[in-house]
């Protein structure tokens, strides 16, 4: 990689050992992925729950957090992805003291590094959405795909170590979605039915993700008969990224780089085209429901719920009673509004629990399943369905209303 004078100075250790480690890490990654040089970034977003970090990761952070302030603090605004717990509700989840202790240590280390502990995966809805063309270094695949696609920003998937490095150096290797050429479509998806429910949008993301299945692939959708809302695109993008490792999509006439489909089709190329309809979406959903008659809990998470989703959930639960655990996970930015506007009280009056600043699958999901005897899980998040099976759950993808019905029927699923 070609290095500027400042980058060479960072590499030489003039800005301290941590920044030296950071740029060496970035060069290693950039060399592997063919980056010619670095690009400056304006924001970073770090995914770093302690189930992923483990003790080794937390100790690694604490090692750097012990450096003098001038050497250890990030250079550009750097925020955090959801944590592994909501300390106020940890007992309800039956999380163990060692888990909470590890979380506290990680938080202290990140704060020492200058990270703003926003604990959210919907920063594009609540903190500071990037603008078109802005180069950023975001973690959480759902954040990256939404900001690339809907906002027109430029980010690769930046795992925790790389996002932290970007925060410390103020730059990232220029490869992948920082480059114009990578942002062209590689596949056209013709929709014959526009999804209605959030779970349908997630299912569509899952289907397209299975079709693409590769980080270099960029699907372009045509046939969407209305402008989808932010929550719909949030669920679509999160599932697409989860099932397909995809970081960018276009929707003709909707997303900013594809006002016309031709804007994202490489000149002279005939892209492969796939058709997806209502039957495909239903088949995707029923594929998860086979042989499951009942569930043990209902989870709304992944991504965290917006204020509008929380309002919808409160409306569905009014006057009802959840007979099995029902968790609604939102961000620390949305939760105070839910409290102020009475949404938290309405959800909890119906037996639900509102969790803030965490993500269900990042919360030691295997251990809390064993502690609580949970197995069958209903959710309206296709992303959660894709992930949680690996933690020993049997997930079912339903609409938000169907999830509420299941919760109020003691977990029983109706056909």
């Amino acid at each position: 990689m070609k290095l500027s004078d400042e980058e060479q100075a960072i590499r030489g250790g003039e800005f301290g050992r941590l920044r030296q480690w950071a740029i060496e890490h970035q060069i290693k990654v950039g060399d592997y992925l063919g980056a010619a040089d670095f690009v400056s970034v304006t924001q970073a977003h770090i995914m770093a729950d302690t189930e992923s970090l483990g003790r080794a990761g937390v100790e690694w952070l604490e090692h750097w957090a012990a450096l003098p302030v001038v050497q250890r603090q990030v250079r550009v605004p750097t925020i955090s992805d959801p944590r592994g717990t909501d300390f106020a509700q940890a007992q309800k989840l039956k999380q163990q003291p060692w888990m909470l202790d590890l979380e506290r240590r990680a938080i202290a280390a990140f704060e020492a590094l200058g990270v703003l502990m926003t604990d959210t995966c919907i920063n594009y809805q609540t903190i500071m959405p990037p603008v078109r063309g802005e180069h950023v270094a975001y973690g959480d695949t759902g954040v990256v795909i939404y900001c690339n696609s809907v906002c027109g920003a430029r980010s690769n998937f930046e795992g925790g170590p790389s996002a932290l490095s970007a925060g410390l150096t103020g730059r990232t290797p220029r490869y992948g979605y920082h480059l114009d050429a990578q942002r062209q479509a590689t596949l056209v998806v013709e929709l014959s039915a526009t999804p209605r429910e959030l779970s349908d949008w997630g299912a569509l993301g899952g289907i397209v993700g299975r079709l693409t299945g590769d980080y270099s692939q960029v699907p372009a959708l045509v046939g969407v008969d209305r402008v989808p809302g932010p929550d719909e695109l949030k669920h679509f993008g999160a599932a697409l990224a989860s099932f397909g490792s995809v970081a960018l999509f276009h929707i003709a006439g909707v997303t900013p780089e594809a006002m016309r489909l031709a804007d994202v089709i490489p000149e002279g190329s005939a892209l492969p085209t796939r058709a997806i309809g209502e039957a495909d979406i239903r088949a995707f959903q029923t594929g998860y429901a086979k042989d499951i008659g009942a569930v043990d809990l209902v989870v709304f998470s992944a991504p965290q719920l917006s204020l509008i989703e929380m309002q919808s959930l409160a409306g569905l639960l009014d006057g009802r009673n959840a007979e099995i655990p029902l968790f609604a996970v939102t961000s620390p930015q949305v939760k105070p509004d839910c409290d102020r506007l009475g949404l938290t009280a309405r959800i909890e009056a119906a037996g639900g629990t509102v969790l803030s600043g965490m993500c269900f699958y990042q919360s030691y999901a295997r251990e809390i399943a064993e502690a609580n005897g949970w197995h069958g899980l209903a959710t309206n998040s296709a992303k959660l369905v894709n992930i949680i099976g690996g933690y020993g759950y049997r997930p079912v993808l339903l609409s938000m209303a169907q999830c509420v019905e299941a919760a109020c029927a003691g977990g029983k699923l109706t056909a």
Partner: protein, 137 residues
């Protein structure tokens, strides 16, 4: 058993030799593994129930979320870790995770590497030269 060398587009880490665990399926540490038990745990994965510890994983593509960037480091620290990762297609997260963990990984072949290396074969993975490669020994 072939003696042919299969060259990769990119690689990092040390030279390793171990038994290959092969499947035409993806890889994500969060989605696919029980990292405590050291086995593939996602029921739909073609290697479900198989131990990955000390094996050279030969798989199709990197999948899933960003957690693997930390998880390889955590797995390495506990010693419950594959010997190497060989992929048709990597994504940035696998590269970032391998870089932090100082883990051996190569990717990018002119053939489908999962169709070329037999499951259970003894293989050598060498990312240290100008042309990273895997070969059956």
């Amino acid at each position: 058993m072939t003696q042919k060398i299969f060259y990769a587009a990119a690689g990092m880490g040390r030279k390793v030799r171990a038994t290959a665990l092969v499947a035409s399926d993806g890889f994500s540490a969060r989605y696919d593994l029980d990292r405590i038990a050291g086995v593939f745990s996602r029921p739909e994965h073609k290697l479900a129930g198989e131990s990955y510890v000390g094996r050279v994983l030969v798989l199709d593509a990197a999948k899933g979320g960003v957690a693997t960037a930390w998880m390889l480091h955590e797995m390495q620290a506990r010693g419950v870790m594959p010997a190497a990762l060989v992929l048709n297609r990597a994504n940035p997260i696998m590269v970032q995770g391998a870089a932090l963990a100082d883990f051996t990984m190569i990717s990018g072949f002119d053939c489908d590497i999962t169709k070329t290396i037999a499951n259970g074969a003894e293989v050598e993975v060498d990312p240290t030269g100008a042309r990273p490669f895997i070969r059956v020994v």
